[in-house]
């Protein structure tokens, strides 16, 4: 009946097909009922954080109400220390027969005594990402893995960006000493053993010159950490940190996860820190960087300086098109063409 109505509305020639719609419909309902919870009534009255635009939001109070114990308050150590925020971004420019051209850019912002001092911005550098490139430049030795990475546009883009960022981090680590280096995201989340090795190497480099690397995660995807951060949000006073109970989060064996709140009006963030990191590093960081809503300014600026705007995307395409004499092949936005403007506007992951 329902299919019949849909057919009429969509002007489909259902009437010519001999189809027992009602029976089919009943069978479908029976099949779906096997794994779809029919009864949501047990959720009645439960506390929920609504998603916005397909994205999870951070609650300002814990949903579970778990007690994580007493926070460890610490004071600011005003000893002058250089804080460096590093971030990178990548942008797919065009697709070729054997790979893609992906542009990468990184920036580093240097802060001291609570004020940003200087910045470096490198790029955009366009790379022709093929399986050969993945093997020779991105450190993947296995041909089949390199090939599958090159085939996967999202994966190759992510690997390029990370490699690019890590190479800049390595240079900074060998150049600086007794500094605090902030990176956006987590450690030990690589998919390959090579990447883990690289991270190990970076931590070794940091140790050599008494540098500290801290990974800042804006919003944790790990539900337990997400909920734990919320439970700490309402605690008065800052800065403090807390070591959450063991969570099932992938991270390097050489690092540990803490939750920290740097300012009273700020959020609580997940920090990935090397295991040997002393609490004094957090004290120096708190005094030597400026924090807005609890997030370090050097990282925020580094993010803003490296992201590609839509306008830069246009400029980059124009410049490469001219420089390399690329011949643009007519293309279509297949999703847009199939679903139309109304449905392609949806943000949920498909």
């Amino acid at each position: 009946m329902l299919l019949g109505n849909m057919g009429i509305q969509l002007n489909l020639p259902f009437s010519r097909i001999n189809l027992n719609q009602e029976q089919l419909f009943e069978e479908l309902i029976t099949e779906i009922s096997k794994f779809v919870p029919q009864d949501l009534s047990n959720l009645r009255g439960r506390r929920a954080v609504y998603c916005s635009g397909g994205r999870s939001r951070q609650p300002i109070s814990s949903l579970s109400g778990k007690n994580l114990g007493e926070p460890n308050f610490f004071s600011n150590d005003v000893t002058s220390t250089l804080v460096v925020g590093i971030d990178s971004s990548s942008l797919p420019v065009c697709d070729l027969e054997d790979g893609s051209i992906i542009a990468a850019r990184a920036s580093a912002v240097f802060s001291n005594n609570g004020e940003p001092m200087a910045y470096l911005r490198l790029g955009p550098y366009p790379y022709h990402v093929t399986s050969e490139f993945v093997m020779s430049k991105l450190g993947i030795n296995k041909e089949s893995l390199a090939s599958s990475i090159a085939q996967d546009k999202a994966l190759s883009q992510s690997l390029l960006r990370k490699t690019f960022e890590r190479s800049i981090l390595a240079t900074l680590l060998s150049h600086l000493s007794k500094s605090i280096i902030l990176i956006d995201g987590t450690f030990g989340y690589g998919f390959s053993s090579l990447e883990k090795l690289e991270e190990k190497r970076l931590l070794g480099l940091a140790r050599q010159k008494s540098n500290s690397i801290l990974g800042f995660t804006k919003v944790s995807r790990i539900r337990e950490l997400w909920d734990a951060a919320s439970s700490l949000f309402s605690i008065k006073g800052a800065p403090f940190y807390i070591k959450p109970p063991k969570v099932d989060a992938k991270h390097s064996s050489e690092t540990e996860i803490i939750l920290a709140k740097f300012r009273d009006d700020g959020f609580v963030f997940r920090l990935d820190i090397p295991k040997e990191t002393e609490i004094n590093v957090l004290e120096k960081l708190s005094a030597n960087d400026h924090f807005d809503r609890g997030y370090p300014d050097s990282l925020r600026l580094a993010h803003h300086f490296c992201v590609f705007t839509q306008h830069e995307d246009t400029c980059l395409k124009g410049r490469l098109g001219n420089e390399l004499g690329l011949v643009e092949v007519p293309s279509d936005d297949q999703r847009q063409a199939i679903l139309g403007w109304m449905w392609s506007a949806g943000r949920g992951s498909k």
Partner: protein, 484 residues
Amino acid sequence: MRVFGKTGNEILVLALPGEVVSQGEYLLIEDGSSRSKMVVQVFNETYLDVPGLAEEIVRDQVMQASIRGAEHDPYEIKSVSSLIRDSRLLHCKARGIIKNGKFRTSHDWLPSRVNSKVSKISLKELFDTVGRQGRRAIELGKGKSGEDFEILAETIDGRLNIITGKKESGKSHLAKMLSSSLVELGCFVFVFDINDEYASLDTKKNGEQSSISSRMVRLVPGESMKFDLEYVGLRSMTSILQHTLDLPGASLREFIRIWEHLSKEDQLTMEELGQAISMWRANDFVKDALFARYHTLLSSKLFTRGGERSIRFEDVIAKSPKGALIVISLAHIPPHARRIAVELMLSKLVDLLEHRKIPPIFLFAEEAHLYLRETHWDDIVTRMRHFGIFTTFITNQPDALGSGVYRQADNVFLFNFTNDADLELISKATTADAETIKAIVRMLPPRSCMALGKVVSDLPVVVEVRESELFTKGETRLFFAREN
């Protein structure tokens, strides 16, 4: 430059930073695949709005303002970005199409966005194509791109012109330049000089006599401009009594009888007129009314008494057959005498023109609302034009002239206005589109004007009015200047 888009008669043209085009300039859009060319005029320019540009500008500002930094940009994306950021969208109005070398005011053809070439077109090229009739050129000044621009005197002949703009924008300068140029071309120009600034046109800035000095006549009502009653005539006198002095109908009838009586007796003088009113047998109210007007006429000192010589416009014109600038100085005249003088002059000139005793004249009326009654403007605009009085109104109060005057105007020279109400009023009344007027006139620098109407074949032109070699005395008298 490239065609970017079109909405109605508005064409958008994309211009890169190096392609300098100013508001008011004309562009030619040539479509390689067609024989037609489109003439458009830039009336506004805006930045190109590219998605993501705002955040990039903000980011750059933050980077530059807060901290020092170093960048490595091997592909110089930043320079491409700067190029795009400084690119402008020229908002143009389609003014017409050139097809087979002929211009027509239409925009019913859409040039190709891909094949079209956009280039500047000089005013000379434009008007050579459009074609203007006449051969007596008046050099007006320079166009936006610095080229000389001249108008043809024939396009002012027989026309109603308006020069308007805010204070100190250069209206009087243009009026003086036009009036002296017309005199040089042999025209007879009357000027109602409210601020006594035309008298100096007989002298050049370097102190030498100007080319029109021998053809200039300055008349001061009550002094060098007096009329005997016979020359004035009954028609002009009744016009003054009725329109300027508001004499009621009954009294006017008695006055006509007195006038006719004196005329018959050949005793038409001011003295006899006073005597006759006092001796006339009439109602006391009528006599009082006549006496009141008689004394007002006397106090104006416009009428000859005791053997004084009367001015005759036909004689003034006859004395200067190669054109004359007749300046009626109204600066130091009381308001009522000013109105009587103007009323008298206009009715007398109409009378002379009607009887073909004088050739057609050009009349420049500065701040006409100070001495012209409103009903007279309609006369000037419609009736007097047919007799041969071609008026140019000069005012800084556009609302002082009725919207009817603007609609009848053949040529308008618009100087800077910033007041929205003034711009609204003018844009509604003139032939050019409101958007062009509002966008361009607001931005005009002093001494630059936008010419509209027949003088520019209905193609608005922005002109920087040329410097005059004549000594122009229009400056305000200053208190502190005494100390210098």
